[in-house]
Symmetry: C2
Subunit: 254 residues, 2 copies
C-alpha cells in the first residue's frame, strides 16, 4: 500500500510554534484534513486539496483521511498543539484498529508539536517544573466520577494539574465542579493560571489562587494549570508575576 | 534594568523540532548559557559568547545567566526539550526568587519546545491520547517514598505515566523499583514504550509489556511511557506496532 498519512501538530496559535518537521510534512501532502480553524493555519500550497470538518467529528475525519491515504495519496491530518495530547493521533489509531486489515500496512507518521500546557506554562513561568499531569475535563468520553477520582489522586499526591477542555457550550458546570473538588485537597492560596488563546495575538494569561479562581473566566480556548502545595509566585514590579514549581519536594502535601 | 534573559527549549534531538520562535530567540542573544551538549545544538552566530556548564549545575548556571542579564546583556539559556519540564525554567525561577531584589525587574521570556514525552509518543503512536502524567524518577531532589506514592496514585487512577530521568550512574536501581511498583497496579500485558535519543539519528523506540520491561534497557537518554489498562497495541505487517490510549474510558482500571 503506497499511501501515507501524517498526523501533524501545529502547536498552539500562530506559526511561531510550527516546527521545521511540521512545515515539511505539510508541504509534502497532497490533501489536508482537519478542523476548519486549524486547517486555516496551515500554509497554502497550490495543488493541495483541503477537507475541513467540524470540531466534534474526530472519528469520521480520521476515517476519511485513512481511506484517502489507503487509496494511494499523501495525506496530512492537522491538529492544534500536539496531535498526541487530547487530539487527532489517538482518533486515527482508534479508526485504524477498527478499520479494514489493509489499513495496517499504511505508512503513518505522527509529527509532535508544542501542546497548549507547555505554551501556557512558558507564559506564566515554570508551573510544570515538577511532577505534573494532564487531564481532560470533557465527560463526553468518560464518566464524571472518573474525572473526580483522577483529580483526587493527582492533587492528593502533589502533582501540578493541567486541565484541558475545561468548558464548552454543552459542558458549562464541569470546571467549577473540578475547582471545588480540588479545594478539598489544596490550600486556598494555591496558584492557578488561566491561559487563553496562548500563541495568538489575543492571548491572555492571568494568575489567581484556587480560592479566587472563577470558572466563568474560562472558555473553549482556555487551558488551566492548578499548582501543587509547593507552587510559588514571584511578584515583580511592573511585570507579570512568575509562577513556578520548585524542582525539589519533601512530601506530597508540601 | 535593561537586560533580558530568554530560557529556550530546543526540542529533543536535532533541528527538526526547533520552532521559529526558538530560532529567533537564539539569534537575538549575545550570550548563550547551557549544558554543553545542548549548547552544541544551537546554531553558531558570530559575536555570541558561549558558556557551557556540566549537567548537574543547574542552580549555578541559572545564577550566572541572571547576573549576566542583570548587567544589561541579552542572554539565552538553552534547554533540551521544553525548558519548563524538568529543566532550566524552574531553576531560573528558583534563583530569581532567592537572588537580589533588582533581578525581579529583569525582562524574562520562556520559549516552549517539544518535550521528550511528546516526541517519544509520536514515534510510538498515541500512548498519551488520554489522561497522563509526567514524573521524574530522580530522587536527588525528592524522597523515594514520595515517588512511590505518586506512582501508586497515578497508576491507580488510570493515568498513563511518562517517566523522565529514569536512570543515571548515581541512580541505577530506581527504574527497576518503579516498574516493580507499577506491576502492583497494572496488568502484566500493559504496553510500555522505551524511547531512546528520539529526535536524533541514533533514535530507538521499542515497545514491550510491563511484565517484560527491562530496566537495564534504559539509560540517561531514555524516556519511558507506561500505559494504562486501556492502552492498546496495533500489530502491523512489516511496520512498527502502534501504541495508543483510546480517548474514551469507563472506569479507572479499564
Amino acid at each position: 500500500m503506497s499511501g501515507h498519512l501524517a498526523v501533524i501538530g501545529l502547536g498552539p496559535g500562530d506559526a511561531r510554534y510550527l516546527t521545521p518537521e511540521a512545515q515539511a510534512a505539510l508541504a509534502a501532502a497532497e490533501a489536508l484534513y482537519g478542523y476548519g480553524p486549524y486547517l486555516d493555519r496551515a500554509p497554502v500550497r497550490d495543488g493541495q486539496s483541503r477537507h475541513a470538518s467540524d470540531n466534534r467529528q474526530e472519528g469520521a475525519r480520521a476515517t476519511a483521511a485513512l481511506a484517502h491515504a489507503a487509496a494511494g495519496a499523501s495525506v496530512a491530518m492537522v491538529s492544534g498543539g500536539d496531535p498526541g495530547v487530547f487530539a487527532m493521533a489517538a482518533a486515527v489509531c482508534e479508526e485504524l484498529a477498527a478499520g479494514p486489515e489493509t489499513w495496517r500496512s499504511l505508512d503513518i507518521t505522527i509529527v509532535p508539536g508544542v501542546t497548549a500546557m507547555l505554551a501556557v506554562a512558558a507564559q506564566a513561568g515554570a508551573p510544570l517544573g515538577h511532577d505534573f499531569c494532564a487531564l481532560s475535563l470533557s465527560d463526553n468520553l468518560k464518566p464524571w466520577d472518573l474525572i473526580e477520582r483522577r483529580l483526587d489522586a493527582a492533587a492528593g499526591a502533589g502533582f501540578v494539574i493541567a486541565l484541558y477542555n475545561p468548558v464548552s457550550r454543552a459542558r458549562p458546570w464541569q470546571l467549577g465542579a473540578a475547582l471545588e473538588r480540588l479545594r478539598r485537597h489544596l490550600p486556598p492560596t494555591t496558584p492557578v493560571v488561566f491561559g487563553r488563546a496562548v500563541g495568538r495575538s489575543d492571548a491572555r494569561v492571568t494568575v489567581t489562587t484556587l480560592q479566587d479562581a472563577d470558572a466563568g473566566a474560562a472558555d473553549m480556548a482556555t487551558l488551566i494549570i492548578v499548582g501543587s502545595a509547593t507552587t510559588r509566585v514571584i511578584v515583580r514590579p511592573g511585570r507579570a508575576p512568575l509562577v513556578y514549581t520548585p524542582r525539589s519536594a519533601t512530601e506530597a502535601g508540601a
